[in-house]
Every structure is written in structure tokens, then in C-alpha cells.
């Protein structure tokens, strides 16, 4: 079916609309009087309905239709927003999301929507039974073919509302009849050009035949457009006539109340009437403009695989560039050198662009949290104010994809275990409403994501006793642990401090998974907490997974890359400073005993026995643990592109991947996390 090619677009856009529904509903809940928001919600629901109907997802369309009806009542002041209504709408949005996900998974998006439809119906009819009848109009309107009605005799209520609004804000509502030249070959192209002109001067509300039919050249020579604009009919006409192959343009003022054209003199009255409402309306039109802009803004969706392919090819180019640089410097040919230099600069810019393309604002992950927090705080009977800071912070797409679940878990955790119930908070002299702060920011080559709450904090004794009970640590160990180390314990497997195991969290399998995921992304997580004041979970992540900074080292004739993120510093150590502790070589490094790991032994590098007096050591860390890697020479710091070793070799001990150096050779990347244990 030809729908298939639209399916992807449908899914993406549906997701966007559902997200926007969620966002706007949250705003609406806080500001029930905000009609602009209702308008937005209505718009999203309406588009969704239209798309679903086009794609043949009937259940989806039915549900959105009912939603739309309820929203319409709200918009027309026939219904007051209550939490109960918002709840039902949220449920509906959830179901919509489920259906869209089903479609993503290859399902047909059908689902039993009857329950929700009835609920929405109940809301609808309880307030104003008559409205059902009026509501039917737009649906039939959508379903009947355009040929049945006149040009714009039947507008749905939303369209009418826009027209009303535009009149109030002294815009013109114009009905435009465009007749194309008989010899016009590419009718669709001309139509497109006309629409482009129209969109520059105003907003197209409706067209007859529909835009889709126009695109398919499914019309004779004439078409009608309903336009809201600031320009006078004359100006609009002139502008349209600039498009070639147009035979005739008739522009008249459209009055949807009388549904017939009237002279433009009445406009002045409308203008007078509109002045008082202008500010408010202006805001609304502005909002609307913004959304239209967002839809039409020049973005394309690109499959991430293609970007990866681009990246791979570019890396090839970089390697060749390195070779060219070498050749040109050895040839000492001035012109060649100049060209190569230019090429280097350009490819440097190119590299930045390609890397930036993979960056996505973390908003994508964050924007589902307000909804989740709302639901959770309801379920848990807690009051929570979620604050999000730095949602625009950009991260590599691969990291974004992975980081969602861990964050969900941490937030659930903070709400369930962190923030206390309103009664408890009151008793402790705190504000009834708990505060949850979600913050993302860049720092150096890393992105930090912090989740902090002003809840109960972590009870050290409770953690310790639980850890001992669960045999995570022993009695003796417990007394020696610092607070920070104790907090880290809650992320070890088989651990849950909540007294009552709840649905939300507390199965004790979560936090260790969170920790593992973050570490597998090359990041780390730390916990700070003060009892009674709250806790802070701080996640540190690399900006990108595909390009990392490393220290290149040499062991005999082999080159290895050690990720800079795990290096504390490098040191040259005299042989005499190496101590023996329990048959292990250790050094005293800034007052700490650090075990030495000889890369030669770990990697079984073929060696010629030759003992140096001085050892080059890279001090690495994993959490609080440190180790010194003994290498032969440090080559230097470099940005490298991470590559996998491929499926055939699978997981190789202490090697996390490979990279291609400037000379075209492969260097292996040391997995420092497995070395420290």
C-alpha cells in the first residue's frame, strides 16, 4: 500500500503531537483559564485525528475525535476544566500513545477505546447534551467529499474560531478563487507556488479542493482558498498574479457568519470591535504562527545509520588527509602544502558539522518526565513540584537513546523514597510540596545530569544495616566506609531501603542496573545526601560516544589508547619507589597506596627483557579505586573515533574497542574499568 511511505512520517508526527498534548495538558492543569493552551491542545488533537483517519486507523481517529469534542466545549466556555476531566484526557492520550506504539511495532493500532470514548462522552453530555448534535457537524464535514458542499459553507468550529479571531484582530478573511491557464502543464507546481505566496502573506485556513487533492492534481482549473491575512484583497491578488500561467484571480472578503461574500467596508467595524481584545488575540495568533513555523521549518529526518555512514566515510577522509599532510611536508611543494592546508581546515569544519548533526537536545528525554511525575505524585499521594533546567543541553544521539530508562528510575526513586508525604513534610517544618530538580549542563567534555530532591535524604544507618543484612558488606567493613561509600551501596545489586516494597520502585533491582547502564555509556554516577534535607544523584556522561579523547601509549611496539576520562594523571616513577604489598607491586601515590598493573603482562606483549630504571605510569580510576598502568612511553593526547572490534571477536578481555590512527593502523582502546577490580 502506498500508505507505507507515509507511515514513518505519520508515526513521527503523531509522537510529536502526543508529546505536545502532554505538555499542553500539564500547562492547562496549572492554568485552567488559559484558552491559548486549549487551542493548542485542540489543534494537536485535530491534526492527529486527521492523520489517523487518512491512514485508516479508525480507533485512533474515534478517540481523538471524542477528545476533540470535549476540548471544544472547553474552548467555547461550555465546560470548565477540572482535574477529573484532565485525568480522563490524560488517559486518552496514554491510550493514543499505546496505539501509536502498536503501529510502530507493526500492529494495526486498534485498541478497545470504547471505555474512554464513553467517559469522554459522559463529560461531554453531562454539561451540555445539545452540544453532541453540534459536534456531529465537523465529523460529517470531514467525511463527506468536498464536492457536496459549496466552497466554504461548512467550516468546523475551529476554523470558525480562527476566522472570528482574525476579524477581531483586524485581519482580512479572504476567499480567493484562482483559475489556472488552460495550457498549464504542471498544475500542482503552480498550486504550490500560489500557496507559497499565500503563506507569505497570511495563513491558509482551508482550500477547496483539499490540499492533498490539489497536490495530486485532482482538480480542473479552478481552486478556492480561504486565507487569513493582513494584506488588502488587492495586494493579495497582485501577488498571486505574479505566479505565471494563472488565468484569473478573484479575491473577495469572506464572512463565515453569512457564508457569503460581502464588501470590505464592514471590515472597519470589525477593526473597532477588535481593539480591546487585540493584545490577547495577538498572543494567540503569535502562538499559532509559531506552531505553523515549527511544522514548516526546514528540517528533514535522517536515519541515524546514514549519519553513521557519513561519519565513517569522513573518518576515511581524515586518515587520507593525514597522509596527504605527511606527503606534502616531505615534498616541500609550496602550492601543494597550501592546498592541503586549506583542505585540512575545510575538513575540520566538516567534522564539526557532522558531529553536531548527531547531537540532540536532552529535552527529548526530559519532556516525558512532567507527565510521569504528575502521575506518580498522584499515585503516591505526594505533592511534587518538578523543575527542569537545561533541557536544551545537547548530547550524542546514542547517549540520549540509552539514558532515558536510568533517569526514569532515578526519578521514581526520588519520588518514592526521597520526597516524604505532605503530612510528614509538614511535621518536619517543610513546605508541603516537595521539590524535584532535574538539571543538565555541559562541563568540559562531559554532560552532567543532576536529579536532586528536598526529601528525607539517605539514612546512613539504615543503609548500613540493610547492606549487612543483605550480605553486601560485613560489619567490619561498614565501620570504615565514608558516607559517600555508604551511599554508593544503595546501587549494589539486591538492595532496597524502602521499608515497604511498592509498585513504583523498591524491588532492589533498579539502582544497580542504573549504575551499570551509565557505566557502560562511559559515565559515572555519584550520590550526595544530607539526612532530612534531600539527596542529589549526579550523572556524568561523555558528550559523545563515537569520538573520545585518549592518551596514546606505547607498550613495546604496540600502541594502546587509554580513555582520558578515566585518567587522573601520568607519572614517571623510579624503580626504587615501587613497593611490594602481599606480592603485588604498589606505589605510594600522593599518600594513597595504588596497585600497579603492567600492561605488558596483561596483554602478553612479546618483550625483550630489558629493565628500565624509570617506569611510566598512567594513574587511572574507577569510582574511588585507583590503579597505575605501567607502559613504556606516552605518545600524547588525541581525539579518536571509537570503532568496534566486530562481531567475530566479540568481547576481548580489557579491550573496549579499536580506533584507526593517522597512519592507518589500528590501535586498541584499553577498557580501564575491567582492569580495576
Amino acid at each position: 500500500m502506498e500508505n507505507n511511505e507515509y507511515l514513518e512520517v505519520f508515526i513521527e508526527e503523531s509522537k510529536e503531537h502526543i508529546q505536545s498534548l502532554n505538555d499542553q495538558l500539564l500547562i492547562l492543569e496549572k492554568e485552567p483559564e488559559n484558552m491559548g493552551t486549549v487551542g493548542e491542545i485542540f489543534r494537536s488533537a485535530h491534526t492527529l485525528k486527521g492523520m489517523a483517519a487518512t491512514m485508516g486507523y479508525q480507533d485512533l481517529a474515534d478517540l481523538t475525535h471524542k477528545m476533540e469534542n470535549v476540548l471544544d466545549l472547553v474552548r467555547n466556555d461550555q465546560l470548565k476544566i477540572t482535574t477529573a476531566i484532565i485525568d480522563v484526557i490524560f488517559q486518552a492520550v496514554d491510550q493514543l500513545e499505546g496505539m501509536v506504539l502498536d503501529i510502530v511495532d507493526g500492529g494495526d493500532g486498534s485498541s478497545d477505546v470504547q471505555g474512554l470514548v464513553n467517559k469522554l462522552q459522559a463529560i461531554e453530555s453531562k454539561e451540555d447534551p445539545e452540544s453532541i448534535n453540534t459536534q456531529e457537524a465537523p465529523t460529517t464535514n470531514e467525511k463527506t467529499s468536498p464536492s457536496i458542499y459549496g466552497h466554504f459553507n461548512q467550516l468546523d468550529q475551529f476554523e470558525t474560531a480562527i476566522l472570528d479571531q482574525s476579524l477581531e484582530s483586524s485581519h482580512y478573511n479572504l476567499e480567493i478563487k484562482v483559475k489556472l491557464n488552460e495550457n498549464c502543464l504542471l498544475k500542482a507546481a503552480r498550486v504550490y507556488m500560489v500557496f507559497e505566496v499565500l503563506e507569505q502573506v497570511g495563513e491558509v485556513i482551508k482550500s477547496d479542493p483539499s490540499v492533498q487533492e490539489l497536490e495530486e492534481e485532482n482538480f480542473e482549473l479552478e481552486f478556492h482558498v480561504l486565507l487569513v491575512t493582513k494584506d488588502t484583497p488587492e495586494e493579495v491578488k497582485k501577488k498571486i498574479l505574479k505566479v505565471s500561467e494563472i488565468e484569473e484571480v478573484t479575491v473577495s472578503v469572506f464572512d463565515h457568519h453569512k457564508q457569503e461574500s460581502i464588501s470590505s467596508t464592514t471590515e472597519s467595524e470589525a477593526e473597532d470591535a477588535g481593539i480591546e481584545n487585540r493584545t490577547e488575540n495577538k498572543q494567540q495568533t503569535d502562538n499559532k504562527k509559531k506552531t505553523t513555523k515549527a511544522v514548516t521549518s526546514k528540517t528533514i529526518r535522517v536515519n541515524i545509520d546514514r549519519l553513521d555512514g557519513l561519519m565513517n566515510l569522513f573518518e576515511e577522509l581524515v586518515i587520507d588527509r593525514g597522509r596527504l599532510e605527511q606527503i606534502s611536508s616531505s615534498l616541500k611543494h609550496a602550492e601543494l602544502q597550501e592546498t592541503v592546508e586549506r583542505m585540512t581546515r575545510i575538513s575540520g569544519d566538516l567534522q564539526n558539522i557532522i558531529l553536531n548533526m548527531r547531537m540532540v537536545p536532552i529535552e527529548q528525554v526530559f519532556n516525558r518526565f512532567p507527565r510521569m511525575v504528575r502521575q506518580l505524585s498522584k499515585d503516591l499521594g505526594k505533592k511534587i513540584n518538578l523543575e527542569i533546567v537545561g533541557a536544551e543541553t545537547e548530547l550524542d544521539r546514542t547517549v540520549i537513546d540509552e539514558i532515558g530508562d536510568p533517569l526514569v528510575h532515578l526519578i521514581r526513586n526520588a519520588l518514592d523514597h526521597g520526597v516524604e508525604t505532605p503530612e510528614n513534610r509538614k511535621a518536619n517544618g517543610k513546605n508541603e510540596e516537595g521539590h524535584l530538580l532535574l538539571k543538565a549542563y555541559h562541563s568540559g567534555n562531559h554532560v552532567f545530569i543532576e536529579i536532586s530532591d528536598d526529601g528525607a535524604g539517605i539514612n546512613r544507618d539504615k543503609v548500613v544495616s540493610k547492606a549487612i543484612a543483605n550480605k553486601v558488606i560485613t560489619d567490619e567493613e561498614a565501620s570504615q566506609l565514608s558516607d559517600k561509600q555508604v551511599y554508593q551501596l544503595i546501587m549494589s545489586s539486591g538492595f532496597s531501603t524502602a521499608d515497604v516494597i511498592s509498585d513504583v520502585s523498591g524491588r532492589g533491582v533498579g539502582l544497580d542496573v542504573v549504575k551499570n547502564t551509565i557505566e557502560s555509556l562511559g559515565g559515572s554516577i555519584t550520590i550526595e545526601s544530607e539526612e532530612g534535607k534531600g539527596s542529589l544523584f549526579s550523572i556524568q556522561l561523555p558528550l559523545t560516544l563515537s569520538i573520545i579523547s585518549v592518551l596514546l601509549v606505547e607498550v613495546e611496539k604496540e600502541k594502546y589508547a587509554v580513555p582520558l576520562s578515566s585518567i587522573i594523571e601520568t607519572a614517571i616513577i623510579n624503580k626504587n619507589d615501587i613497593l611490594n604489598a602481599h606480592n603485588k607491586k604498589v606505589i605510594d601515590f600522593r599518600g594513597k597506596v595504588v596497585p600497579l598493573i603492567d600492561l605488558k603482562n596483561v596483554f602478553e606483549v612479546p618483550t625483550e627483557e630489558e629493565d628500565d630504571e624509570l617506569y611510566s605510569v598512567v594513574i587511572i580510576r574507577k569510582g574511588d579505586k585507583m590503579a597505575g598502568l605501567v607502559v613504556d612511553t606516552f605518545i600524547g593526547q588525541q581525539e579518536i573515533v571509537l570503532k568496534s572490534l566486530g562481531d567475530y571477536l566479540g568481547n576481548v578481555f580489557a579491550i573496549s574497542g579499536a580506533t584507526i590512527l593517522g597512519d592507518g593502523q589500528v590501535a586498541l582502546i584499553v577498557d580501564t574499568n575491567t582492569l580495576i577490580n
Binding site: L313, E604, V605, G646, Y648, A654, A658, Q665
Partner: protein
């Protein structure tokens, strides 16, 4: 492969014997180049090379077949083989051109061929005076066969 009437293959040489690799899976034939050793892998895994931006593991077929390994010469080649999910390179003594082996000349592998374990030999073809052994690549690369050798990895 049994139903193919003409077995199109690339003939390679290992220790003076000839072997055939089906031509469809051969992605490229490369000259010997620098191989980066990957520690703690099976002994016949020589390491990885940069094959046009893709890190590709290299297997020494001599060692895989239990022959003594030799220094590379001018004729040493790396045959890049594309399997379903990955590609690997085989180091061989030499690679000759493509040969059409008529199906009727292919016989099932004899129970004993020298010292080599016969499970990765699919059959033997007699072409003129040449005796060519057809390789069963899945077996050559099979995980089990080098799990033992890889044991170190733990």
C-alpha cells in the same frame, strides 16, 4: 553448495596445497599489511587491520589448520571474506584467480586428509592434475572450534 553445477571459487595456496573459497563471499584480496595484535584471543587470530575504515579481524589459516606458520612473502595475501554478520580476513600463502570447478568433479571429503581435521573440508575436487579442497567457511570460523583455544579469555 551441493546443488551448484559449477562451483565458482577463488583458489588459495596453503603449505603447497590448494584450497577453494566460494567466490560470492570473497569481498577483497589484500596484500599483507600491518596487523594490530589483539591480546588474549586464539592463537590463530593474528589481530585486526584497518580495511577501509572497518576494523577487521585477521585469521592465519595456516595456524587455524594446524600447519606451521611462516614469515610472509611477496605472494602472501589476505582474503577478506564477508560472512553474514561480520567480515574476517584469512592470511594465505598465495591466491590465484577464479576457477570454475565442475560439480561432477567434486567428491566428498575423504575421512583422512593428512593431519587436518576434516570437518571444515566440504569436498575435494580433481581439476586436471590439481587436487583442490573446498572449504566450509562456517566450520573454519565456527565458535566451538576456537572456544578451547580462546580459553584464556575466561
Amino acid at each position: 553448495m551441493e546443488e551448484v553445477s559449477n562451483y565458482k571459487s577463488i583458489v588459495i595456496e596453503l603449505d603447497k596445497e590448494e584450497y577453494a573459497i566460494p567466490v560470492e563471499v570473497v569481498g577483497a584480496i589484500e596484500r599483507m599489511q600491518h596487523i594490530t595484535r589483539v591480546p588474549k584471543t586464539a592463537s590463530f587470530v593474528k589481530g585486526v587491520i584497518n580495511l577501509r575504515g572497518v576494523v577487521t579481524p585477521i585469521i592465519d589459516l595456516r595456524e587455524r589448520f594446524g600447519m606451521s606458520s611462516i614469515e610472509s612473502t611477496d605472494s602472501t595475501r589476505i582474503i577478506i571474506v564477508q560472512m553474514e554478520n561480520f567480515s574476517v580476513g584469512f592470511i594465505v600463502d598465495a591466491a590465484y584467480d577464479v576457477l570454475d570447478i565442475p560439480e561432477e568433479s567434486i567428491e566428498p571429503a575423504p575421512k583422512v586428509i593428512g593431519t587436518v581435521d576434516a570437518d571444515y573440508i566440504e569436498g575435494v575436487a580433481k581439476v586436471g592434475k590439481r587436487l583442490i579442497m573446498l572449504l566450509q567457511l562456517d566450520r573454519v570460523l565456527s565458535q566451538e572450534s576456537f572456544v578451547n583455544a580462546k580459553g584464556l579469555e575466561g
